[in-house]
């Protein structure tokens, strides 16, 4: 459990790492928190994100789709219980 959380933090915190968030946001046209969370859910989960969890992550993004909120949403998806399902 913790190893995954630690890895998730490393995975999303590395602003110098190879994940180019602005490029992904632009290329995938993730113009709203809903689109961003659905993209992350599809990319990272083997099954669907629970609706309540999805809503909470969208709320977390507070209407912003920028690098900070996108990385934060990515972390929340990875540490969510749904990630464990498959």
């Amino acid at each position: 459990m913790t190893i995954r959380d630690s890895e998730a933090d490393d995975f999303v915190s590395g602003y110098d790492a190879s994940i180019n968030v602005p490029k992904i946001i632009r290329k995938k046209r993730l113009t709203t928190p809903e689109l961003a969370v659905d993209y992350l859910s599809d990319a990272l989960l083997a099954g669907p994100l629970q609706e309540e969890v999805r809503s909470r992550i969208i709320d977390y993004m507070d209407g912003r789709v920028d690098e900070e909120k996108f990385r934060g949403a990515m972390w929340l998806v990875i540490v969510s219980p749904d990630f464990q399902r498959n």
Binding site: D9, I19, Y60, P81, Q84, R85
Partner: protein, 429 residues
């Protein structure tokens, strides 16, 4: 890199080793089986506590306890890095031996009869993985000398004992960097944390908002009985426990001043903090690194300053001295025993880099109010014809004898189910 589940999992797999308490993010390593053990008989309801101090890297026993009665041979083997006799701390009532000059605090405790020195401690010559750090750590933590269990699901010798103690508010075993395996049982996991303060969800960027969302998500039930729900409940439990630990330990005040800039001292201070909180902790593991002294072992030494290895021993000694005094100050010293061990010793002769290479027999310590202070076990003979395994210092005391005596005499439980055999007592308890 694309954001994909596969990329994340592959990256995790590459770097997972050693991360259990390294991240500042969520320092809740393993509450895995908390309150979910297979049950079984509760063999021991005592309040006794084992604290294990793991000196990572293979501590040099010969420069930790100097054999004054073999000093000419010792000097011959170590013309550069020997400890001069005028700086060595001769043991009261045991003038054949002296402590490293950095070990003044432990020397004082020895004088008070609270330290058992275990000479020639190590594994049998046919043990799996001698001279190898990882295999030897596995051996000392698990007490398995065959290496066979490492291929399945290994457990630690203290963990197997903890499987049977009364459960408290948190897990009975808490690892503060001394080796998670040591405290891992067959039925129960131990808790591994970097520190008490870090035992909480601590997202870095966008911290408050992310933490609030995290807590909310963890409160949303998933499908009953599924993996996701079990995972959620474990996390929820960890968060709850971390809050209890921080709350219960907040009022702790050390009764003595711990040494400054001393990592082990800080770890042992937190041990006292956890023990005085009465959370049900029955074993703790702490560690100190830097003992793989292949080169420049006494670098920095002059007439007044200690060299590198001696500084390490000073740090350990000062930390234990403060810890012991703090336990006394809090009135719990009778219930705590502290073991100091390392995965192996060093070769008897210094190498060309003024260091020592991986060796065999070493020295261990048992410290506590209930210990019969003294020197136990035969100090290995350093003569060339008495060296073993390609010129190494012999092992005269099976490390499992120390464990066995602690379990039998201090804890009061049968060591055979834990260690898988009987081992002769040394008499330090």
């Amino acid at each position: 890199m694309a954001i994909t589940r596969r990329n994340f999992l592959r990256r995790s797999a590459i770097t997972a080793v050693g991360l259990s308490f390294a991240s500042p993010l969520l320092q809740t390593s393993a509450f895995g089986s908390l309150r979910q053990g297979r049950g079984g008989s509760k063999l021991n309801l005592s309040n006794k506590v084992i604290v294990a101090v793991n000196l990572f890297g293979g501590n040099d026993g010969m420069n930790t306890v100097i054999p004054l009665n073999q000093y000419a041979r010792y000097y011959q083997l170590r013309p550069t890095i020997h400890i001069p006799t005028d700086r060595a701390l001769v043991l009261q009532n045991a003038p054949d031996y002296a402590f490293n000059p950095g070990m003044t605090a432990l020397h004082a405790l020895y004088g008070q009869g609270k330290v058992a020195v275990i000479n020639g401690v190590g594994a049998p010559p046919d043990a799996y993985g001698l001279f190898d750090h990882e295999a030897s750590q596995y051996m000392f933590q698990s007490s398995d000398i065959t290496g066979s269990a490492s291929a399945t699901v290994p457990s630690g010798w203290i963990g197997r004992y903890l499987d049977h103690v009364q459960e408290g508010i948190v897990t009975a075993g808490v690892n503060l960097g001394g080796g998670e395996l040591l405290l891992r049982g067959i039925d129960r996991e131990a808790l591994s944390i970097g520190s008490i303060d870090q035992f909480q969800v601590q997202p870095g960027f966008d911290g408050e908002a992310r933490k609030a969302a995290y807590n909310d998500i963890m409160a949303i039930p998933a499908a009953a009985g599924g993996v996701a729900e079990r995972n959620r409940m474990l996390r929820e439990s960890a968060i709850e426990q971390s809050a209890i630990v921080r709350e219960r330990t907040a009022g702790y005040e050390p009764s003595v001043e711990y040494p400054a800039d001393n990592y082990l001292g800080d770890s042992l201070r937190q041990c006292t903090q956890l023990l005085t909180a009465d959370l049900g902790v029955r074993a703790l593991a702490v560690g100190y690194d830097g003992y793989d002294t292949h080169a420049s072992q006494e670098d920095g030494r002059n007439d007044t300053q200690l060299g590198y290895h001696s500084v390490l021993m000073r740090d350990v000694s000062d930390a234990i001295g403060a810890f012991q005094a703090d336990l006394v100050g809090h009135g719990i010293a009778q219930d705590v025993i502290l073991l100091v061990f390392s995965e192996f010793g060093r070769r008897p002769e210094e190498n060309n880099d003024a260091g020592t290479d991986h060796g065999y027999g070493s020295v261990g310590f048992v410290v506590g109010e209930t210990v019969h202070g003294g020197v136990y076990g035969e100090y290995p003979n350093l003569n060339e014809d008495r060296l073993v395994l390609d010129g190494n210092v012999d092992v005269t005391t099976d490390f499992r004898s120390v464990y066995s005596e602690v379990l039998a005499e201090f804890i009061g439980t049968d060591p055979v189910p834990v260690l898988g055999g009987t081992f002769p007592a040394l008499g330090f308890l």
